[in-house]
């Protein structure tokens, strides 16, 4: 597979799955914080 295709694959994964994991972590942290309160 060409390098440019691999670069776009990594770009897509970082934006979509990286972004999703970041947002999910934030949501979990916030729900834990409100549970503690």
């Amino acid at each position: 597979m060409p390098v440019s295709a691999i670069v776009m694959l990594i770009f897509g994964c970082v934006v979509l799955y990286g972004g999703l994991i970041f947002c999910l972590r934030r949501a979990i942290k916030s729900s834990r914080r409100s549970e503690r309160r």
Binding site: M1, A5, M8, L9, L20, C23, R26, A27
Partner: protein, 488 residues
């Protein structure tokens, strides 16, 4: 009036919103659009569209539902009395969709059964058009009902009713399965696809970027169109789902999670689709572009062909594929029915016990049209006019009403009071300028194309009927607005 229902948990709400957004289009539309619009380079306009139109509009709909605690018509009524019709218009647009969408699922029910014996044989195109649908000569010839499709339609409508009749708490539990199962099956399909010979050739076509397309306006319009339709925006679904949220619930982060999960599914589905297309092309000794299709052609012609050629466990993968389509479709289908039902309950306080079965029966009875031998054409026509003109118009009106009449700033301040992520003034710009401008351009672009060439090679009178349907739902929206509700 019955007390408003509530989600059992935040996860239930997020999963339901993801389930509403993820549908058949994620599997059969996105991979093809990506391939046809510059491969990997398409990801750039796609992400731009997601950030500038998809997520802002989703935040708007979540905020509107959460703030007003009602379905779309009453939510717009609370924004400004005269805009209630926009809420009704979104519900009529979604009604048109839930009239034909279950028919596609009915095909999947039949194909899941056929998969056990690979009934379609070697010529899958002939089987789908001539044996299964038994297509008539055109939309003007209905040609009688196809009973297997009608039976499938009854199964689908019963399933929709069962998912909804116990209320949103039960929906929250159902979606835990209907969102997870397709993902598990997708993972199996991707692993299977990648282990087939020729898979990398397929992926090369899917991902290799052609950056020259970034200068073409139609590629950007395709990206905005894809983002807009894939997120279930302008259908009233997200407004009614967020209206079941308890008071102190997050808005912006829920919108980010829903959008990214939906688009992540589309991207992942591309690996399942293009790896198997690579295998199909190699088996047939042709190039990947020659076997690449989207929509019904991909699901009911190309994929069965791939399944037929699999070296082992072909029926198993066939059943798995169509179960995936069914589970992908069912949560989108009931998310289309729910806002329509809620619209009547919120305005006239009707009992859900009566409204839900009435809407399901109505949906089934009108859906019979699409189970006829000419139904395939009508499905295609209603889909085109509803998505291209109906939803586009609703999205445009939503942005203008909230952005200029209610003021985007007020919604932004409200979102920032309750959310985990603050949104800046950029959001006002997106809602007031970027999104309505793109939707407006897209609407005019498609209208000009329709006037010049008609649609899909159908006779001219079809265009008049399509435009007539959109005009009719606008009139009906005004009529319902004028009928007084219980609280007025």
């Amino acid at each position: 009036m019955e007390e408003r229902e509530r989600w059992g948990s935040r996860a239930g709400f997020v999963m339901a919103s993801i389930g509403a957004a993820i549908g058949l289009g994620n599997v059969w539309r996105f991979p093809y659009i990506c391939y046809a619009n510059g491969g990997g380079a398409f990801l750039i306009p796609y992400f731009v569209a997601l950030l500038t139109a998809g997520i802002p509009l989703m935040i708007l709909e979540f905020a509107l539902g959460r703030k007003t605690q009602t379905g779309a018509p009453s939510a717009f009524f609370q924004v400004t009395k005269g805009s209630e019709w926009i809420g009704w218009l979104s519900l009529f647009a979604v009604m048109l969709i839930f009239l034909y969408y279950p028919t596609i699922m009915a095909w999947s029910v039949n194909y899941a059964v056929y998969s056990a014996t690979l009934k379609w044989g070697a010529d899958t195109q002939h089987f789908f058009h001539n044996q299964f649908l038994q297509l008539s000569g055109g939309p003007e010839i209905l040609g009688g009902i196809r009973w297997p499709v009608l039976a499938g339609l009854a199964v689908v409508w019963i399933a929709i009713y069962l998912c909804l009749f116990k209320g949103v708490k039960a929906v929250g539990k159902v979606v835990m399965w209907t969102v997870t199962i397709p993902w598990v099956i997708l993972i199996i399909m991707v692993v299977r696809g990648l282990t087939l010979p020729g898979a990398l050739d397929g992926l090369k076509f899917y991902l290799t970027p052609d950056f020259s397309v970034l200068l073409k306006p139609n590629v950007w319009l395709a990206a905005y169109g894809q983002v807009f339709f894939t997120l279930s925006l302008a259908m009233g679904t997200l407004i009614v789902y967020s209206s079941y949220l308890p008071k102190k619930s997050d808005i912006s982060n829920n919108a980010y999670i829903t959008s990214l999960a939906n688009c992540g599914t589309s991207f992942f589905a591309g690996f399942a689709v293009f790896s198997t297309l690579g295998y199909l092309a190699q088996s047939m000794g042709v190039g990947v572009p020659e076997v690449t299709q989207s929509g019904f052609g991909l699901a009911f012609v190309t994929y069965p062909m791939v399944i037929q050629l699999l070296p082992f466990w072909a029926p198993f993968f066939g059943v798995l594929f169509f179960i995936m389509l069914l589970t992908l479709g069912i949560d989108s289908a009931f998310s289309q029915v729910e806002p329509f039902v809620a619209g009547f309950i919120d305005k006239w306080y009707f009992s859900k016990k009566w409204v839900l079965p009435s809407v399901c029966t109505f949906g089934f009875l009108v859906g019979v049209l699409f189970t006829t031998r000419g139904g395939f054409y009508w499905l295609d026509i209603v889909d085109y006019f509803t998505c291209t003109f109906g939803l586009c118009l609703v999205g445009f009106l939503e942005c203008v009403t909230i952005g200029y009449i209610y003021k985007a700033r007020k919604i932004r301040e409200y979102v920032n009071e309750v959310s985990e992520f603050r949104i800046g003034k950029w959001w006002d710009v997106m809602i007031m300028i970027v999104t309505p401008a793109i939707l407006g351009i897209s609407f005019v672009w498609e209208l000009v194309k329709l006037i010049q060439h008609g649609y899909g090679g159908y006779p001219r009178w079809i265009s008049f009927i399509g435009v007539g349907i959109i005009a009719l739902i606008i009139v009906l929206s005004f009529v319902l607005m004028k009928i007084k509700g219980k609280e007025e």
